[in-house]
Amino acid sequence: MANVIKLRKGLNINLKGKAAAQVSAVQPSKVYGLVPDGFYGMKPKVVVKEGDEVKAGDALFVNKLHPEMKFVSPVAGKVTLVERGDRRKVLSVQVEAAANQEYVDFGKKDANSLTGDQVKTALLESGLFAFFIQRPYAVVANPDDTPKGIYISAFSDMPLAADFESVVLKGQEANFQTGITALSKIAKVSLGVKPGSKLENTKDAVVTIFDGKCPAGNVGVQINHVAPINKGEVAWTIGAEEVIFIGRLFNEGKVNLTRTIAVAGSEIKNPEYKTVIVGAKVADIVANNVATDKKVRLIDGNPLTGMKTCADAFLLAHSTEITAIPEGDEADELFGWISPRLNEYSVSRSYFTWLQPSSKEYVLDARVKGGHRHMIFSGEYDSVFPMDIYPEQLVKAIIAGDIDRMEALGIYEVAPEDFAVAEFVDSSKVELQRIVREGLDMLRKENE
């Protein structure tokens, strides 16, 4: 029987437009783009030229700091564009998909008989290593490190997030198990699941059940309760969907970055799951499926931790959903500080959310809904931050640039996403995720 950890703090936000549990294919994109920004914390060095022919699994760029770490093409075809922005920053490497998809053959392997080093080499070669994120700093993992463990959360409880277990995993169970087995050769694997999960019997992993509200599904929250990270330690995390990629690599011998993502949100006409390849055009994923009667904000990811995107952009590497919410910048709501605003969602009882049934689904727009202030009310972050850390004091230490204090207060254990719910409930509208990101970057620079 797996260990059960109950989490008291948190908040489930019930948004309209959850994806129905059915999967459909999308029209293949003409051009796919791999976006370096999707892999936070690395410097890309492009290794292809425009006009080159690549197979799915060929490197498009490598990490300048660790050239053995490759970032591979999701499809076979011709490199059409290396898109650069200010100061020649690589924005994307675009590949025009060939009619016939060819994959680089990495050779089928039995994950059980491999050593940790062999698995690591195979992952680096195939570009799947790039999907590891390390704590501290929440950046692309460093292959030279020896992690104390590999942590995977098999569920996300963020609003509108894709349901991994009942939809995404369907038909991929064997690949998932192979992936877990392979990872267990590198380090001890810990899998966090929700109550009642069938994944409780996963082999080669220590399974822990997390029973609580959002963000209990955040891998950082789970690590904090299972094996908190101390200074000097490194833990690797990887998305459950990406474990399937690893399983495919060993079972099929090829890099197949096809994943099932949720296309959801109040402004999506038919919210459901879509099978897409990493790097697909957002426009193709949401084609004819977005409400046109108002301004819509497309988000790569869920509305709490995702990033604003647009139809012309490419699906980022880690994305498990594309969501659409109203932009709301023409709302012009009168007397927000006193009117009842029955359709608004709030944890504060100065609104009437508490009177509504918990099944009520809300349509929330992208407005910040208030002026930016210094932190005024206390205890707001704490009530939705299920970690043994003082979030407010940590954020203040980051704002002050006090590195010693950040360390003392546990910055090594957090990632920006862990502060997402706190940022949502904050009445002072402080940009917590941005601040935490800056703090992590500051510390990383300092410790290098």
Binding site: K308, S350, G370, G371, A408, E423, F424, S427
Partner: protein, 383 residues
Amino acid sequence: MGLKKILDNMKPAFSEGGKLSAFGSLFDAAETFFFVPNETAKVRGAQIHDAIDSKRSIFFVVIALIPALLFGMYNIGLQHNIAIGACTEDICGCFLYGLAAMLPKIVVSYAVGLGIEVAIAQYKKEEVHEGFFVTGILIPMIVPVNCPLWILAVATAFAVIFAKEVFGGTGMNIFNPALVTRAFLFFAYPAMMSGDKVWVNENYIDCINGTVDGYSAATPLGQLGAGEPVTYSAMDTIIGTIPGSIGETSVIAIAIGAIILIWAGIASWKIIVSTFVGGALMAYVLPYSGAENFEWWEQLTVGGFAFGAVFMATDPVTAARTECGKYIYGFLIGAMAIIIRVLNPGFPEGMMLAILLMNVFAPLIDYCFVQSNINKRAKRAAK
């Protein structure tokens, strides 16, 4: 919408480089007063936000103060009518008299405080913060009715500048600005703030009703401090028909405010409850010597104890910010207020000083709890 259009048309003049750009902050304040800002989330970070903002939270505190304010107005008239021997049954008359006495104080407090806040916001090129809406209504409620307007204006200006803005404005202050106003008055103009001459209105509106010059009406705490018998029943102190600072007398009106604040989740129940526990315990341990018809628990109903516990101690900026720290913070305020009342011959009322004292100690209380978390982490790492 018409109003939105008018504001949009006016906006360029108030923006940077416009003719009226010197009043930009004022325009911003007006615009956000009418409309929820249409600003949307940045590219990264949470794309959706809770509808609560500091404006709404702060206006809920003002709403919670209204019962105490209305009762305070009534009580001004009531005390005045008692003093001149007029009819005390006329609730409406009492209230209107109190309203006339109170309005100038509210106007002065808001005009001076907001004027300074707007000027400073304009200087710093920031939005005007709404924190003063609470302070501005609290100030007239915690002074005696006889306090002259010019003194109120000076004290408000002092508090806004030296207790708040020098620290960086709303959210950064160490002391509760309303209490600093009161402390300033208390020490700079003691004759205006305590004794038995200040609780009944003597100001100009008396021309209508006849003067009450020199009339003395001591508060229960004044009587206790002087070692005299208390002439008010427990019921009087709970309903609030006794002399005292304008907003502080009625426990019932304050309780209504407390329920609103706790229900809306704006004030910490932990602070309120622990303040009363600390006060009750200390009142039980330290009774007034010789006060025979005064039960220990009546300590909590007289003076500014209830008002301070509900509206002053709970100011989130100056209180302890850790959840466990709030219990200690509240407990010490309650205990300290009673200790000052009973043991210090100089100050019949201790609530103001107790809260200001604990404002100073709040960071220390937080430090202890945060440090224990830090130590735990350091110990774990050393293993």
